[in-house]
């Protein structure tokens, strides 16, 4: 698979559109450092990813990258709040409890703090996934098909949330999707 050169600067949004089979998820995994490219370079937060490996890459990813998955998965044995504390724990940074509270309130799920994530509605889970990706103010937030399962109203809400919260923490936002509805919300668009 080949991909064009892609640049997204701090605080900017980027939409990557592509039909199924065009390697969208592969591209996202490459950009986020979950896979290694056979050719070419990926640079993130001023660092060439190929220079990192093993647990150093894991740490780097934990600190600088946030990912919103198509289907949000959580650590099932932990509560909503505990799941939000995980990124800080795994990346070895101090958990920002004030920010966690603020995000939960803004996303309207602060009353579910002590609930099991499995008991949340799909919409709530989606919002918790966004909160988890942004809790540590990463340099880049990647979102993989965040809206494909949502209706128009909810799609709009989720995109706005993503853009707002990303802008708020000065994170670059990269969305990978086949959802043409999103076109109207972004200026920087790459079509695969």
């Amino acid at each position: 698979m080949h991909f064009p050169d892609i640049v997204c600067s701090k605080g900017e949004d980027l939409l990557i559109l592509g039909q199924s089979g065009t390697g969208k998820t592969t591209l996202l995994h490459l950009l986020a450092g979950l896979r290694k490219p056979t050719k070419g370079n990926i640079s993130l937060a001023g660092r060439e990813l190929s220079t990192l490996s093993g647990s150093r890459l894991d740490k780097f990813r934990g600190i600088h990258v946030g990912i919103v998955f198509q289907t949000p998965h959580f650590v099932k044995s932990l509560t909503v709040w505990e799941n939000l504390m995980l990124p800080a724990y795994f990346s070895g940074t101090k958990p920002d409890k004030g920010r966690a509270n603020e995000l939960l309130t803004r996303l309207g799920i602060d009353h579910k703090k002590n609930a099991n994530p499995g008991s949340l509605s799909i919409g709530e889970q989606q919002r918790l996934g966004i909160a988890r990706a942004l809790i540590h103010k990463p340099a880049v937030v990647f979102a993989d098909e965040p809206t494909s399962a949502l209706d128009d109203t909810n799609t709009l809400a989720v995109i706005q949330l993503l853009k707002e919260t990303a802008a708020d923490s000065k994170s670059a936002l990269v969305i990978v999707t086949h959802d043409n509805r999103l076109k109207t919300h972004f200026q920087n668009i790459i079509i695969l």
Partner: protein
């Protein structure tokens, strides 16, 4: 939030598998601890009682019975022997020490043994209260006897014939308690000890007859091994027998040994099953958790963290299993010691923890870590990209 917290919550979430693993470990650990502790205590006790006694002289019959009754006071005697004849035999330069014993009566299940202060000195028991018996019909109590029989210094009591029958009470003369012995960890602890003549006085001859001067057994320590050759022959010629405590006890423990091996194998198999149970339970919970493991990795958890998480889960299971198994073994030992106490008036120091527990703990931890090794390797090998692509 830390790795131990996550591991703990994961185990609670997959509680049925965790519970099965813990229960199996608990029973396995309890079984092993119980067996080893009982064996060790009995061996210690057996050896302590047998120390310094090479030979026992008594009436003909089963040599094992003679040893059990004369040395350990847990069986009926084989009969009595004539004191003058026995005295003649043991007045022998080959014999270094001879402790005559006359017994056959009890008070409340505690055996009354007539002997000399040499009997008490042999086990290095000291008087803790009162004084040593000096006159006939004075007794000193072993430590457990004093604790459990209800007798105190100054009390008087009648002895009863036999070892547990309180029907046939000798009401002609009464005993008086004059002293209490310190705990010596020996057979003395559960006895009531007096002079030989006191025992004779309780059993008066029929009117006109000569008083019966009899011993039940004599504990002997030889000066050199030649006694082993000549004494048995001489005893036989005089209608007595000699028995070797070490040989009889070896024979006995060998018979115990078979049962012990069987029980040990059963307990060992249960522990192996628990290993399997931990393995299966962790492996199946991994299936349920493969996405969250991948997501932990995207959040910065390295392979080492995931490996440690699963090993920690195995470790927690094994430690809980050990603790519960240890408590269960204490309960089992308590039951067993109560049985020993009511049946044989034996009191045992089962509850002192020692190196044994540490070894069993180490073994249990190894079981937990071994069982979770493969699941931990599997978890740490999670390929993030592949796993997340398969949703």
């Amino acid at each position: 939030m830390n790795l131990i917290g996550i591991a703990r919550k994961n185990l609670i979430r997959s509680w049925s598998g965790s519970l099965l693993s813990i229960l199996l470990l608990m029973f396995g650990v309890a079984g092993i601890l119980l067996l080893l502790k009982v064996e060790r205590q009995l061996n210690e006790r057996f050896e302590r009682n047998i120390k310094g006694i090479n030979l026992v002289l008594g009436a003909p019959g089963s040599p094992l019975q003679l040893i059990l009754s004369a040395v350990y006071q847990i069986d009926a005697p084989t009969g009595n022997i004539s004191a003058p004849k026995a005295n003649f035999l043991i007045k022998n330069p080959l014999i270094e020490k001879a402790i005559p014993l006359a017994y056959g009566d009890n008070y409340g299940g505690y055996r009354i043994v007539g002997s000399t202060p040499a009997y008490i000195d042999h086990y290095e028991a000291k008087i803790s209260q009162g004084r040593m018996f000096e006159n006939n019909m004075e007794v000193v109590l072993g430590a457990s006897t004093a604790k459990n029989s209800g007798l105190k210094i100054g009390d008087t009591f009648y002895s009863a014939h036999g070892f547990d029958d309180t029907q046939d009470v000798h009401k002609n003369v009464s005993f008086t308690v004059v002293g209490i012995l310190e705990n010596s960890g020996s057979v003395l602890d559960q006895l009531i000890i007096c002079t030989i003549e006191s025992v004779w006085m309780v059993h008066p001859p029929e009117e006109g007859a000569e008083p019966k001067r009899e011993y039940t057994a004599v504990l002997l320590k030889q000066r050199n091994p030649t006694a082993m050759v000549t004494l048995p022959e001489m005893a036989k010629l005089n209608g007595m027998q000699t028995a070797l405590p070490s040989i009889e006890m070896n024979r006995l423990t060998q018979n115990f040994g078979i049962g012990k091996t069987v029980l040990q194998n059963v307990a060992g198999s249960i522990i192996l099953l628990s290993l399997l149970s931990i393995f299966v339970s962790l492996l199946s919970s991994l299936k349920d958790r493969k996405y969250e493991l991948a997501i932990m990795r995207t959040m910065g958890a390295g392979r080492g963290k995931l490996f440690a998480l699963i090993q920690l889960e195995g470790l927690i299971l094994s430690i809980i299993g050990f603790v519960l198994g240890y408590l269960l073994s204490l309960f089992g030992l308590w039951l067993f010691s109560r049985l020993l106490e009511s049946e044989f008036k034996y009191t045992m120091a089962f509850f002192n923890p020692g190196l044994l527990e540490i070894w069993v703990l180490a073994a249990t931890v190894i079981v937990g870590l071994t069982a979770s090794l493969l699941p931990a390797i599997k978890a740490s090998a999670t390929d993030i990209s592949q796993t997340l692509n398969n949703e």
